[in-house]
Symmetry: C2
Subunit: 415 residues, 2 copies
Amino acid sequence: MKKITAEILTIGDEILYGQILDTNAQWMSYELDQLGIKVVRKTTVGDNEEDILTAFAEAEDRADLVLITGGLGPTNDDLTMPTLAKYFGSDIILDEHVLAHVKDFFEKRGREFTELNRRQALVPELAEVIHNSLGTAPCTWYERDGKVFVSMPGVPHEMKNLMKESVIPKIRNFFNTPVIYHRVIKTVGIGESFLADKIKDWEDSLPSHVALAYLPSIGHVKLRLTAVSDNREILKQDVQLLIDQLMPLAEKYIYGYDNTSLEEAVGQMLIEEKKTIAFAESCSGGFIQHKMTTIPGSSAYFQGGLVPYHNQFKIDLLGVKTETLEKHGAVSEECVIEMAERVREKFNADIGAASSGIAGPDGGSDEKPVGTVWIAYADGKKTIAKKLQLTQNRILNIELTEISVLNLVRKSLKA
Amino acid sequence: MKKITAEILTIGDEILYGQILDTNAQWMSYELDQLGIKVVRKTTVGDNEEDILTAFAEAEDRADLVLITGGLGPTNDDLTMPTLAKYFGSDIILDEHVLAHVKDFFEKRGREFTELNRRQALVPELAEVIHNSLGTAPCTWYERDGKVFVSMPGVPHEMKNLMKESVIPKIRNFFNTPVIYHRVIKTVGIGESFLADKIKDWEDSLPSHVALAYLPSIGHVKLRLTAVSDNREILKQDVQLLIDQLMPLAEKYIYGYDNTSLEEAVGQMLIEEKKTIAFAESCSGGFIQHKMTTIPGSSAYFQGGLVPYHNQFKIDLLGVKTETLEKHGAVSEECVIEMAERVREKFNADIGAASSGIAGPDGGSDEKPVGTVWIAYADGKKTIAKKLQLTQNRILNIELTEISVLNLVRKSLKA
């Protein structure tokens, strides 16, 4: 079957001149990929009628589906709607439904409705209008010779809501796309090539309707399984069976699926085991606690923590022994173990975890170069410490320490 | 004078399919804008020879300058270099300088040099090769009929280094671009429209060769002054004079210039005043301490801090009075003041600062809805507390609390 092709077109001077990062195009192309639609090009043009018309014609020539965002505001420099009308040779009409929605939208927020806002209800007559419940700029849908144009607002949460609620279902229906089932397996604590080596036999045995992609990012590798056929339930079963087969090979690295983050996965484990946690962070400077507390409801298991950035506070506030620091220094197995054990006691937690290292760029020595980090876990029964040799980059070292500490907690909870 | 136009072309399936966010294109277009070059289009195509050739031809037709990134790896799916050779009708040769560099690069990192890596030294004969000191993929420069193509690696830090060190100077020289001088003034603690109102008279009086742009982001508004003429020193003086005139109107909101971050600015003030600081964070969960410790050398002024996420630890570890929590609750002026004063004492710091609030999505009440946050500053002589009414979004509330606390410290240090 010939693959449906798509082009993503972003309209707006603020994107073209680099004032805004275009995150919409990435999100949309990922979603289209999940539908089995092949994105063949991404284009950005400015708020200029001629450039927009050229881009429309080129896109229609290249692709079956054109997804457009931006240029839908009420001011004169927003040209997408009148240019779509011109391109499709359509009159512009005032849509009473949109007008009522815009008026209502302003009223509910106690904002004044002006003549300028009325423009938001002007749409090409031949367009199908799709209701935008989260904003005032309407979404419009155009069909010509088996091809589809969709125009959406550039505000990310409005666009995403429209895509999920209306546009994707309509695309599936119009193009009669095959069923594609994706499952992302998230791993931590192993590099891409080592993981590939471990799961080679499993990868080689994958059936032809299931594809595997390695998606590495800082400290993590995601495995994406993509299965295509015409029955979603069977696909789900197929993929689950493959994951079951993968487990004996890679279970210790897998912390979750799809959009689960490491801090969410650790939080979920703590909830299931009814355990609480506290952190003593030196080189990671509060970043572990920050990540943990981004998760709603984390107060159920996160007790709190300390950032004793100077040695004196490791002694005074945490209770690390003076002798330990004098004999071994702060970046040592002995110190980080005491930090984890003491913070556990101080915060009356089931688990204590700690970091101490040299984030850089200064502070390294021959014996302990920049990137030397000790981390530890303590739960009252066992204490585990681990040495990391990280990078020359301060920010990266902070991130990798956070991931390593949470992974140490995860593995210890699992053990 | 006619403006030089540019197109930015990104090559790679991983960008097209949404697996990677393209941050390079934004960075490059911002830099070109700073040079006074008008970006007329951004394009992304996949690893496909025909699509790349089409994109080259379209770009050459539209723009004077074409900046290309990506597709320069050593594997078969990386097509940029052979396709450039084909497009410009050039033979491919082995560049001995590049080969020596690649071999040296691998040797220094203790990695094996393979036949595959040798491919990185294959370049079109008519290209001018620009040395990439940070990686193995060479940068190449092409001229034809007064137009320029530049091909760069997609790895962001390699591309940025090449642009700054070599490509931008070559572009300035080739196109004889006018001198453009930019100065970004960074403000915090005031919304865009309020700031615009305060500085209206100053804005109206700007000379014609200086343009002003408002660039808002979360919690901040940047003012960018862009001045164009043919003498850089005079421009610098002109812009400094305008900033001097702006000061009486907006001084209290200005924390820095160009790339200075708020945490850097506060750190610099602490160094200058020889003062140290500690934080007690409840709702911000360690994020303030994280931001402070991203700055190299922050151990000179950052003593450390506490995240007493549960009330008991505000009492036991920080020394907040039980009565305060019983009578006023944790999210109160009384509690946050004690937190700031106590953390200052505990960490033997000149300054203590604190946050306590309801980040959400749960935990709100009629009296104290989600987004209610108290922050405080204490320096032994004075204590200042402030109530914030933020949003329904947990992550945004954490970020806005961090910015507000650092801004409170900044303003108090200035006072």
